[in-house]
């Protein structure tokens, strides 16, 4: 079990992580979710003992990272954001060295390295120099390194960044496989990853925890009102009247044109069971309901809600910046063209 209590880190006066507390039970997969620069890596560095905290404690199986770093480090396999691989070493040599560094007894090193390489499917590149490997393979070598020493806990800092979609799927599958005998904490800023792999999520933003819960709970808790999308054939005013007069309906938030005579109504209602009286009323009024969908708020909405969506002003500024960048690029291209033209002349 990993217990994190009031963990805080200041870089000078700038707080990177403030008062974070959560626990990870055995055999759990915990997603650590947050936008870039939220303090994910800082927290993970503190859990693994790479970075001392300003205040607060991390207990791993009851051992305090500040007092018993050796015991804690023996229990943790850490894959940092940038895999710590030596580019001039060969894969097998590197893994054997890492096994030694992690205190794996000499007799077990070879078999552990072999198992880790098979698990990550890098056995066929074991003789190659790491610097010549692709990013995906380098990531896998780092992953294999984290598995050495059979750590009880695996801490993975953005394990899928920079990988192609097939590799991402592979890493996710691997995380699911590993969760059978490891407790895994992994960070990401990609939502789909969390839904694909984790049971529980910690959402963090600007160094503070915004939510710690299971995914389903999060999705449910943040939406008090339900939203229905109805595709209805008929006269708009008549339908609007019918909908508005039904009990339980709060308001019609939008009406979109679908095809002639068919419109999509987005309706805010109190609860799911308003659907029945609404249907009955619409049918009684001779309106053909072609489609009904309950709009569920996804984790994406939860995430945006918790981490703060960009304001209109910000997005306008972003757009201007984007435009400015494009114009700069265009100008540069022009200049280059002119220069080349002169040289040709």
């Amino acid at each position: 079990m990993v217990e994190i209590k009031n963990l805080t880190k200041y870089y000078g006066v700038h707080p990177a992580v403030q008062d974070i507390s959560f626990t990870v039970g055995d055999h759990e997969v915990l997603g650590f979710l947050g936008p870039n620069g939220a303090g994910k890596s800082t927290t993970m560095n503190m859990i693994t003992g790479c970075l001392p905290s300003t205040s607060g404690t991390v207990l791993v199986d009851g051992y305090d990272i500040a007092k018993d770093p050796m015991e804690v480090k023996r229990r943790i396999g850490y894959l940092p954001e940038l895999p710590p691989v030596y580019p001039d070493m060969r894969v097998r040599d590197y893994l054997t060295f890492a096994a030694g560094l992690k205190g794996v007894p000499r007799a077990e090193r070879k078999s552990q390295v072999n198992t880790a390489m098979e698990r990550l499917r890098i056995t066929d590149v074991q003789k190659r120099i790491i610097g010549n490997l692709s990013k995906g393979y380098r990531q896998r070598v780092g992953f294999a390194m984290a598995l050495l020493g059979k750590p009880k806990f695996l801490i993975l800092d953005e394990p899928t960044v920079g990988l192609d979609p097939t590799q991402v799927a592979e890493v996710r599958k691997l995380i699911r496989e590993l969760s059978a005998d490891h407790t895994i904490i992994f960070s990401t800023h990609i939502l789909a990853e969390v839904t694909a792999v984790c049971e529980r999520v910690v959402i963090i933003n600007k160094g503070q925890i915004r939510a710690v819960d299971t995914i389903t709970n999060l999705e449910n808790s943040l939406t008090t009102e339900k939203i229905l999308r109805l595709k209805i054939e008929g006269e708009i005013t008549k339908i609007t009247n019918i909908i508005n007069s039904t009990k339980g309906v709060q308001e019609i938030t939008s009406v979109e044109y679908e095809s002639s005579g068919v419109n999509i109504f987005t309706v805010k209602v109190d609860a799911d069971d308003v659907r029945k009286p609404l249907m009955a009323a619409l049918l009684a009024g001779d309106c053909m309901v072609l489609e009904v969908t309950a709009v569920k708020s996804s984790l994406e909405d939860v995430f945006v809600k918790l981490t703060g969506s960009p304001t209109r002003k910000q997005s306008r500024e972003d757009a201007f910046q984007e435009l400015g960048r494009e114009m700069d690029a265009a100008r540069e291209a022009d200049e280059r063209k002119n220069k080349n033209g002169k040289e040709d002349a």
Partner: protein, 243 residues
Amino acid sequence: MFSLYKKEVQSYFYSPFAYVVSALFLFVFSLSFINSISSMSSNVLKFSFSNIFYNSFFYFIFLIPLLTMRTFAEERKSHTETLWLSAPITIPQVVIAKFLAVATVFLLMMVLSLFFPLVAWWHGSVVLSSLICGYLGFFLWSLVCIAIGVMISALTDNPIIAAVLGEAAMILVLFLDNFTNTDLIQSVKPVAKVFEWFSTEKRFGAFSQGLFSLADLIFFLSITVVVLIWTIIIIEKRRQSRG
């Protein structure tokens, strides 16, 4: 810790780096060897290596930063330090392992230079006491320089800057002796005494004459240890603020 030491020693031989530096080392050594043989005027004199050591050290000292520049700077640059920071190994162990690795590589280079005394011994005779003490003094002085180089490497994340700063530190070490002998310093006796105590060249001179002194041995070793402790403190301090 042994794994780290072994890997560090090996890392010098993955690239042609160690071979090139060794070649340069032997080249410099051979030049001063030729020089002193050519300048022998009388056949009666037994050939001694003290002068060669004494002369060539001024070149060797500048090779050491090349060996030490990568020790910590490279790790910071390529973000590999998380490997040993998250492994069950303490920072003092890391520093000692890395220091010993550089010392080992340097020792290997010195073993290569045994070629010259062997040649001399084949064609003449070698004053053994002077040779052994010369090598010993040479090695002890280089231990101090290696420790300084490792410390400077821990200060930066750029190996080239580590090398340049290392060279500057080596110049300072050599300069200290000349500075001690200036009239200005010698005119104030207490100050001169302090400077003399820290001047490595005089102590090395005694070794290269074939004189072994326990005080000098302790001097070199204790300076090495102090510098290594500083290195540990520097790394521990940097760890506080890494991102």
